[in-house]
Amino acid sequence: MSLITVEHVARIEGHGTISVELDGSIVKDVRMDIVEPARFFEPMIVGRRFDEISLITSRICGICSPTHTVTSLKAIEDAMNIPVSERTELFRKLLVYGSFLQNHATHLYIFSAPDYVGLPSVFPLAETHPDVFQRALKIKKAGNELCTLVGGRPVHPVTAVMGGFSQEPDPRELEVFRDRLADLVDDAVATAQMFDSFEVPEFSSSGDMLALVEDDGYAVYDGDTAALEAGWRRPVAEYRAFITEEVFAHSNAKHSTSGGRSFMTGAIARVNLSRDMLMPRAAEVLASLNVRVVEKNTFLNNVCQAVELIDACERCTMYCDRLLDEGGTSVPVEFEIKAGSGVGATEAPRGTVYHSYSIGDDGFVTGGDIITPTAQNLGNLEADMRAFAPTIADLPYEEFILGMEKLVRAYDLCLSCSVH
């Protein structure tokens, strides 16, 4: 029996180790050891005031920070029964989509693409394929600058507060940005076409797929949770009833199941569940790609992220137009501090994130629970790794390892998030 390990897998957010136990060329077991240190966010927020919570939970993740901020605010607003204006919601959506642009561009170009062009990192592309490198930076930068325009900076937004925004962007800047987003659609299309051209293994994940859905849109900011194969749709407030977490000795992150079955969340789940809700260009491009109507090949999560880039550019152009035309206010609403419990759920770039809190009469938090997308995905990733490893076990060592790393990277893991 021999053990192959890839310690601190490169080009993923956080620290994880792939372990494969082999008996000759027969794969006996495969694990994803999550060595990312535990940080204890849930006990940490107990005893802190309601208006500090989004500042704290934003620090779960430097990549998904806009999503954690928005989700945290929504959960507390739910607990204290605070409605926000449509304008506030539009700005929050821009913030979430800004992190989609930033994250998807980073994951696709900096983390994933080097695997498919045989490079250790994206940096050599600056010399060999300057057009591709510049496109990567252009999309990533637009995402960062959208977050900065709305939130004040790319990581850990400043202006998003309980009930609204502490400050709105200058309308002239919003107008300039709208044009820039419209112009970015072609770059996103080129990204989707490039990833569609990369050869991926034939593979079908055994797990279910979960994502937020809405009747009238591509759910990202709000919605119910739906399961693709189990076929149900349930309010997010019940998330504890449809997601079960379990602790395993090899992982500082818990694993999740739904109805006893592992599942995947993220771009591929969203595209499967809401493909009819995509913006026109995104829908048109998706139809031209090698993505099935119900797609279970995990490797195609990359292509689905690229399709979401197109959708995000089109959708944010529309949101900017609405913000410029419709008026209204995002000034934080007045509210009374009161006791309560609440749940918030949002689609982070890599899947649904759930926050729930209980708050006492004095506005101090008495309990909290957070489930991040990567924590939900880890069980399914291991199931995929166990199914995929034997199919490539006869390849030379380097190619075998690269194959496993490609699968791991396709999940766009965020191990910091997973061990919060």
């Binding site: 080009r11 849930e42 993740c61 430097g62 990549i63 940096f123 930068k141 990581v155």
Partner: protein
């Protein structure tokens, strides 16, 4: 020969490393000045035996981190920390306010034991000497480029020592204390351009205690504005709860 650089993450949200990738316009210029030998976030490869500069993100939360830092200090001529977690223990040090067994049980329950080798979260300089620091949560990219340039040229560390009120005044922001709201600008290390107050949010102290701050005067200012002076300490814990541990 360009200095050999390694970038290492301890316990963190990776936000400051993400900020390093966010210097898109200057990324290639910066990379051109250094010989980047190891960066797990961005490139395949292993940590080399020899290097000149170690850039460290994250708080120290495990025994492994302590050993890694000692190795880095022995090998690197220059150690530079980025972000609040590495600089003050940051948000993660808030876990010090909770009984560790209670915290563990709240997250992991009674199942198999995980997260072994844990220790109370603290800053890097509680373990090894730090030559240059970029404070803040997250780091400001311009400040990062500035500090890195100073490190490359061997210039003295110039981390600001004043509180940020002075710079906030030059931005013509209306003082939060005058509006009856708690703001930590009187005691927090400057260098951020008073970003949060300029975006109409009070300072939350992410850059740590300004060495030149006058805490007594700050408490008196709170009282004179009708604010509870104990809120100064309580709020300051947000990014600085490790200060009790390390002193």
């Amino acid at each position: 020969m360009a200095p050999r650089v390694v970038i290492v993450g301890l316990a963190s949200d990776f936000g400051c490393q993400v900020q390093m990738t966010n210097i898109e316009d200057d990324l290639l210029d910066v990379l051109g000045l250094i010989d980047l030998q190891y960066w797990q976030l961005a490139s395949s490869g292993h940590m080399p035996e020899e290097y000149d500069i170690a850039i460290v993100e994250g708080a120290v939360t495990t025994q492994e981190h302590v050993e890694l830092l000692k190795r880095l200090r022995k090998t690197a001529a220059v150690v530079m920390t980025i972000g609040s977690c590495a600089d003050t223990g940051g948000i993660l040090a808030l876990a010090n306010c909770v009984d560790p067994d209670v915290a563990y049980a709240a997250v992991y329950g009674k199942g198999p034991e995980v997260a072994r080798g844990r220790r109370a979260p603290g800053p890097v300089d509680a373990v090894i000497h730090v030559d240059y620091r970029v404070p803040g949560c997250p780091i400001d990219t311009d400040e990062f480029i500035n500090v890195l340039s100073r490190a490359l040229q061997g210039l003295a560390d110039r981390t600001p020592v004043d509180p940020l009120c002075a710079i906030c005044k030059t931005k013509e922001n209306v003082c939060f204390l005058d509006r009856g709201e708690v703001c930590l600008g009187l005691v927090t290390r400057t260098g951020c351009g008073a970003k949060c107050p300029t975006l109409n949010r009070p300072c939350t102290g992410c850059r740590g205690l300004a060495p030149d701050a006058n805490l007594e005067a700050a408490r008196a200012a709170f009282v004179s504005k009708g604010l509870d002076p104990t809120e100064l300490e309580r709020r300051f814990d947000l990014y600085n709860a490790a200060r009790e541990v390390t002193r």
